[in-house]
């Protein structure tokens, strides 16, 4: 495996580096033009270029090693990606108890159902070279849906504390008082995916389709397969967005049906629950 990797490196690295040098030159030219207008981004740009190159070379090496693994390795990679996605999404829910776990559940459920479904129906091959890239797309979109749902739900509830508490004061279930905000949160998380589906082929030709065509697949089949992927992304996002909103909703109230998600204090666990029974 290592020999293969080294061979790949020796044959491709020099060509890639030459192409990268061209791209970097163009980028530095833009930096110089910016400097002419007193926009100083030289240091930051150089650092970003170096960092980006090193990271991508590192990722390439890791993938070159991993892509020779079996389906189990692929599933482990997807699991790790799901965890990383949960870490990212949970940053939108700072202070909410168990936010990381809730995001992990939601993303794992959304992406998991779709990936397992695709594997079961033969739409997706268990070959690690296909499973990981397609799975990562689904996980990434589930993560975005998750983050967008949390953001919208928190913003709506904290902007309508009066309405929510008016409902509670009238004896409503907590779920009833925030029902409109659950709906808007899930809708907001699905909207970008719906737009993506609508603009498919018109505004953008996704990478999977392009890759399949480059590797010799029929353009029509490549197009249909890309459609399937986007639909699966929509399904995974829907599950993740809905599930995380419902889970976060349970954390927005204390056991005594008191609203604890409030503006200015992004859901710090307050003393409200101390005396709750």
């Amino acid at each position: 495996m290592l020999a293969e990797l080294m061979q790949s490196l020796s044959s491709d690295v020099s060509r890639g580096m030459a192409q990268a040098a061209g791209a970097v030159t163009l980028c530095l030219a833009v930096v110089l033009i910016c400097r002419w207008f007193a926009v100083h981004v030289e240091r930051e740009t150089v650092l970003s270029l170096v960092r980006g190159l090193v990271q991508m070379v590192f990722v390439g090496i890791v993938l070159a090693l991993l892509l020779h693994g079996n389906a189990l390795v692929g599933m482990l990679i997807l699991l790790a990606m799901t965890f990383a996605a949960a870490v990212t999404a949970s940053r939108r829910a700072q202070g909410i108890k168990d936010a990381l776990l809730l995001c992990f559940y939601a993303i794992a459920a959304g992406a998991g159902v779709v990936i397992v479904g695709m594997l079961a129906t033969g739409t997706l091959h268990s070959d690690i070279a296909i499973l990981v890239p397609v799975g990562s797309m689904i996980i990434a979109n589930a993560m975005n849906a998750c983050a967008q749902s949390i953001e919208r739900f928190s913003a709506d509830v904290t902007a309508h504390v009066g309405q929510v508490e008016a409902g509670l004061a009238l004896g409503a279930e907590p779920a009833v008082t925030v029902a409109p905000y659950v709906q808007s949160a899930v809708y907001a998380s699905l909207l970008p995916r719906l737009d993506m589906l609508k603009s498919l082929g018109l505004v953008w030709i996704p990478g999977v389709m392009a890759g399949m065509m480059v590797s010799g697949a029929s353009p029509i089949y490549a197009g249909i397969y890309q459609f399937i992927i986007v639909v699966m992304i929509l399904a995974a996002s829907g599950i993740a967005g809905l599930l995380v909103t419902l889970l976060i909703r349970t954390r927005a109230f204390s056991p005594a049906a008191q609203l604890t998600l409030r503006p200015g204090e992004p859901h710090k666990p307050r003393l409200a629950a101390v005396n709750a029974q």
């Binding site: 004896g171 049906a257 008191q258 409200a272 629950a273 101390v274 005396n275």
Partner: protein, 257 residues
């Protein structure tokens, strides 16, 4: 399904003719009355601040108790503890002698209704807002019941009005009617007139006074207006920095203020 407690039809209040009368006040021998609400060493602290500090007070059935004090004294914080919108970090509240933590929060809040400083009406019609509380218990209010309640708060024919078209005073009347639709035993009022202009505030105050007198409701009202406390309440409790400073018959506070 019918409403739990039938809502009596009543004539529209003629506000122009109404002014609080001394005769409206009930006997001030509160010790002889049954206790509706009792707080026992009630406290609430958040992070690094004590909002309500060790308050013990009794409110008799049918009594109107005003809570006054300077801004930040903990008046609203105290009121929010009475229907458990916030959780006490010390002490408790007895409702008809029963520890309110033993009562399901939803049932507690039906029994202890609250009108907030702002109306916070839900999008929709006036009728939908009024029917909201009973609907949470799967009880549907009839059109007659809604109409009677609207008559009660001097908004006849308003049932189909969209709440977005209401003035501040009208919205607060709907908010009061919405709370009354739950047939609460205790009414909490959190500065219900402070966000209104003088004319609307005066109307709401008269309305509140008439309703609580007619229904013989136990009422706790937060106000920053000593004169309002004197007009409405039987007794007044004075808070400062979350602490109970005094509970006195209203006249005493009125004279002091």
């Amino acid at each position: 399904m019918s409403h739990a407690t039938p809502i009596k039809s009543a004539p529209v209040i003629e506000y122009a003719e109404y002014a609080p009368q001394e005769a409206d006040r009930r006997p001030t021998d509160w010790a002889a009355q049954a206790i509706a609400v009792e707080t026992k060493n009630l406290s609430r602290a958040v992070v690094d601040k004590v909002l309500v500090r060790d308050i013990s007070v009794q409110v008799q059935k049918g009594e109107v108790l005003a809570v006054v004090g300077p801004s930040g004294a903990g008046k609203s914080s105290f009121l929010r503890l009475l229907n458990r919108l916030d959780e006490a970090t010390g002490g408790t509240v007895l409702l008809d002698g029963e520890d309110y933590r033993a009562i399901a929060p939803r049932e507690l809040r039906r029994r202890v209704g609250m009108v907030m400083q702002m109306a916070y009406l839900f999008p929709g019609t006036v009728a939908e807002n009024i029917a909201f509380g009973p609907l949470q218990r799967h009880q549907t209010m009839s059109q007659e019941q809604i109409k009677a309640l609207l008559d009660r708060v001097a908004l006849p024919g308003y049932q189909d009005r969209d709440v977005s078209t209401l003035s501040g005073g009208e919205a607060q009347r709907v908010s009061l009617a919405r709370t009354l639709a739950n047939s609460p035993e205790v009414l909490l009022l959190d500065e219900p007139t402070s966000a209104l202009d003088e004319a609307s505030a005066h109307g709401i105050e008269e309305l509140v006074l008439r309703v609580i007198r007619e229904r013989q409701m136990t009422c706790v009202i937060v106000t920053h207006d000593m004169q309002q406390a004197a007009r409405i309440a039987d007794r007044t409790m004075y808070l400062e920095a979350g602490k109970l400073v005094a509970v006195v018959p209203t006249n005493g506070v009125s004279h002091a203020g």
